[in-house]
């Protein structure tokens, strides 16, 4: 769809001029952000502060505006506009109850416009010298080893409690735990179940449990034989003993998944109808289905996975072998293939893997985050040819704010997924971060958002071990939790998630207002915020950052792979995508 991106110069266009006059006139009284309207209930918004410097007349500000010519292009955003130096307005094509949660996500963290232009939006180039507004600056990324962060002295919030933070990674759960036992590191993400048990009785350790806002699933690509046959997918669903997998390979606090969504998601999790519970194990029926599909006994299929520990799947290799053994009972000969993590994610998203183990941890706690990314996202080919019924129902549900209406649609989605079996929901994994007892401020986030700057181990460095290496240190085009955790330390988004929680609170935007329909959101930026490169944060940085992802024709629309999967999942479609 054709659309335009226009640069509004102050006083050059009538509409813009009117807006600018309102915002920038050398007013005697400070311009305050308008009162939040009741409709969207922004309970967390603090009292609006002085938005514009009252004493000096603001120089004419060249506010950027990116806009779709019409909403026919299929996405959620209609326009993003820098109204004045510290005010940004988003206009949406339809209401989105999760809008604030979405823009709080690290992938939509704000970048300096000049830096973005200078690096051409290339995530790899931006990872060389990451530039954010967060509490930590990246001082070194030693590939294959660690990322070292140094406290940013001009951070707008509370200063980091530890001058140097180190992020390391190790795919081996037990080796990570040994490093913690030896005092080499201060925190270990996702240790194995047995190690968590050991830590609970160890006086030198503290265990911070993390709620299972995640899903481990066995995915199928319906363009790769024999998974193109729904009978084969159903047969595998019927053959698996999911309870045993949870009992054997997951820590306490985990549960067998009945649906793709965790049970606490409302609206979303289906409690009535066909989709409320998954298939019970039934070997005979599974064999019959395979026979009906013409799959002979001893047929070889390949099961791919990546060997990284996740909250949703603490130990992939033994689970893969367990599934291999379970499927041998219905006569399928499973060959296991381990693929390097980043390569695995890219290959599944590109639709090249037929049968695989994967999972998802919540970025924000709403059904749209789980469903839209996976089943209503044209950028994501992991399940093969789109399941159109599922796609349409999910898209429709994401645009309705009435909870009951939404729930009715999500009930249909759960039933459709059970019928078509694009994947088998396996488990919601409880997980934990184990800290050494000396760590103050130890916490976990259900979103995997642990922030190092509030923690201290009583020495000048704080070392956190996660499961894998980040793919990049600018996360606009990343989906992997390993990269996102690193980015969380360095960048801020307009909104932020509460520390250790899921509630949304102000981030770089100090306050916001919305119109009663929930389609116009105006954010007032914090003033005096500095980027690590010394630049000041202003509204154009926000517009440029969002444009780089949204506008497929933008010179900065580069990223790492150029997929921008989260944009597709959260906001539907790209501008100028053709």
């Amino acid at each position: 769809m054709p659309s335009t991106m226009r640069l509004y110069k102050a006083l050059s266009g009538l509409t813009a001029a009117a807006l600018l006059v309102a915002a920038c006139a050398p007013a005697a009284t400070p311009t305050a952000a308008p009162e939040p309207t009741a409709a969207m209930a922004p309970t967390e918004a603090p009292a609006p502060t002085e938005a514009a410097a009252p004493t000096e007349a603001m120089a004419a500000y060249e506010g950027l505006k990116v806009e779709a010519e019409s909403c026919d292009y299929g996405g959620e955003i209609q326009s993003i506009e820098a109204i004045d130096q510290y005010t940004v307005k988003f206009t949406l094509c339809y209401q989105d109850p999760d809008f604030l949660s979405k823009i709080a996500f690290t992938v939509f963290a704000i970048q300096d416009k000049e830096y973005l232009d200078a690096t051409g939006g290339d995530s790899v180039a931006m990872s060389e010298q990451p530039n954010g507004t967060g509490p930590y600056m990246v001082s070194e990324w030693r590939r294959g080893e660690q990322v070292t962060f140094t406290a940013f002295p001009e951070y707008w919030g509370d200063a980091a409690k530890t001058q140097t933070a180190i992020l390391r990674w190790n795919a081996d759960s037990a080796a990570k735990f040994l490093a913690l036992q030896s005092g080499e590191v201060d925190a270990v993400d996702n240790p194995a179940a047995q190690d968590i048990e050991a830590a609970l009785t160890d006086p030198n350790m503290q265990v911070a449990g993390r709620e299972g806002l995640n899903i481990f699933y066995v995915g199928f690509n319906n363009t790769i034989a024999p998974f193109d046959k729904v009978e084969v997918r159903q047969a595998i669903a019927l053959a698996l003993d999911r309870q045993r997998i949870v009992d054997q390979y997951y820590p306490d606090g985990s549960e067998v998944a009945q649906q793709f969504l965790p049970p606490s998601f409302s609206p979303g999790f289906s409690t009535t109808g066909d989709g409320a519970t998954w298939y019970e194990q039934n070997i005979d029926e599974a064999k019959a289905l395979l026979a009906a599909a013409g799959v002979a006994e001893g047929t070889e299929i390949e099961l791919a996975y990546r060997n990284v520990a996740r909250g949703y799947l603490p130990e992939a290799p033994p689970v893969a072998q367990e599934i291999q053994a379970q499927l041998a009972e219905i006569g399928l000969n499973v060959v296991i293939r381990e693929i390097e993590s980043t390569e695995f994610l890219d290959a599944t998203a590109a639709g090249q893997v037929g049968f695989y183990l994967l999972g998802w941890g919540a970025d924000y706690p709403a059904a749209t985050n789980f469903y839209n990314y996976h089943f209503a996202n044209t950028q994501n080919l992991q399940f093969g040819e789109g399941y159109t019924e599922i796609f349409d129902t999910i898209t429709q549900a994401g645009q309705i704010s009435d909870p009951a209406e939404r729930q009715a649609l999500y009930d249909q989605v759960a039933a459709l997924i059970k019928r078509d079996v694009p994947m088998i929901p396996m488990a919601h994994g409880g997980s934990a971060v184990v800290y050494s007892a000396a760590v103050e401020g130890a916490h976990t986030s259900p979103l995997g958002n642990e922030l190092f700057y509030v923690m201290s181990a009583g020495k000048d460095t704080f070392t956190f071990v996660q499961n894998g290496e980040p793919a990049a240190l600018w996360c606009g085009d990343e989906t992997d939790g390993e990269s996102l955790r690193a980015c969380n330390q360095v960048y801020d988004a307009l909104m932020a998630y509460q520390l250790g929680g899921v509630a949304v609170e102000p981030g770089l935007a100090e306050s916001y207002t919305a119109n009663p329909e929930g389609t116009e959101w105006t954010f007032s930026l914090r003033q005096g915020v500095k980027f690590h490169n010394g630049a000041d944060l202003d509204a154009n940085d926000v517009v440029a950052t969002f444009e780089a992802q949204w506008n497929a024709k933008s010179p900065n629309h580069v990223g790492r792979e150029g997929n921008f999967e989260y944009w597709g999942a959260f906001f539907g479609a790209f501008l100028n995508a053709d």
Binding site: D172, S173, A175, Q248, P318, A325, Q326
Partner: protein, 309 residues
Amino acid sequence: MTTSTASTPLLNAEPITEHRSPATEALRRLLKHRSAQAGLFLIGALILVAIFADLIAPYGFREVFRDGKRFEAPCVHLLGCDPAETEHLFGLDGNSRDLFSRVVYGSRLSLMIGLVTNIGAILVGALIGAVAGFAGGWWDTVLMRSMDVLMAFPSLLLAIAIVSALGPGLINALLAIAVVSIPVYARLVRASVLSVKDLEYVQASRALGASPIRLLFTRILPNAVTPVLVQGTLGIATAILDAAALSFLGLGAEKPTPEWGLMLGEERARALSNPHLLIFPGLAIMITVLAFNLLGDGLRDALDPRLKR
């Protein structure tokens, strides 16, 4: 006729042992050799275990125990384990499979790895060494310098490089190990060929009109059998170790193959919490390698004429 009958008693008076063939003599010395005895015994036992793995192992190597807890410690009824519990001599592994059965089945793989890689390497190495030594000149230079290049790499690193290029898997690992073993045999055979190719009996054969191929295979190469046999036995031990190392690094056998090195690699971090996962496959590797080394030492002593008592 009369003279010969007259001389018979004289011949008969000599000790019988003087008339044994060199092979019988060597075998006799080998069987008397202490370390060779130990090696032969262990290898014999290993071969029996490998052949009768189906009978010895109580369970399949892929069989998962639904009711067992993973990493369960060994339960031996004779040693006081509760008879109500299922007996697992070596305990359960990380997928609730009987570790004893896996170690037993692993013997098949390890013996197969040792034999296949060495036979392959000996065939290729011997051919290269024989051609280089016999043809000499330009052939010798090209073949032996390429062997020198192969030997210049640390063998395990070279094997890792080969597997990385071909992709992980047991067959590729075998290939890689065979390739890195070739130069040793090539050198041995070339040395043997060089030492005898100008001796009188060879020249006599040549003068009688024997073709070069016939000369090489019937007159010259038999001299290389002894050193190759010794080296081959020791080489089996090295090959088993190399294969275990490759599997340990995730470049050899694929899960859930009961390969000892792979079993060690999968559970390497559990050395402190669940040592049985490492002790038993580790012991199996150690005993096998030790057995072949002992036998190799014994063979060398038995076949070396200078050590003859």
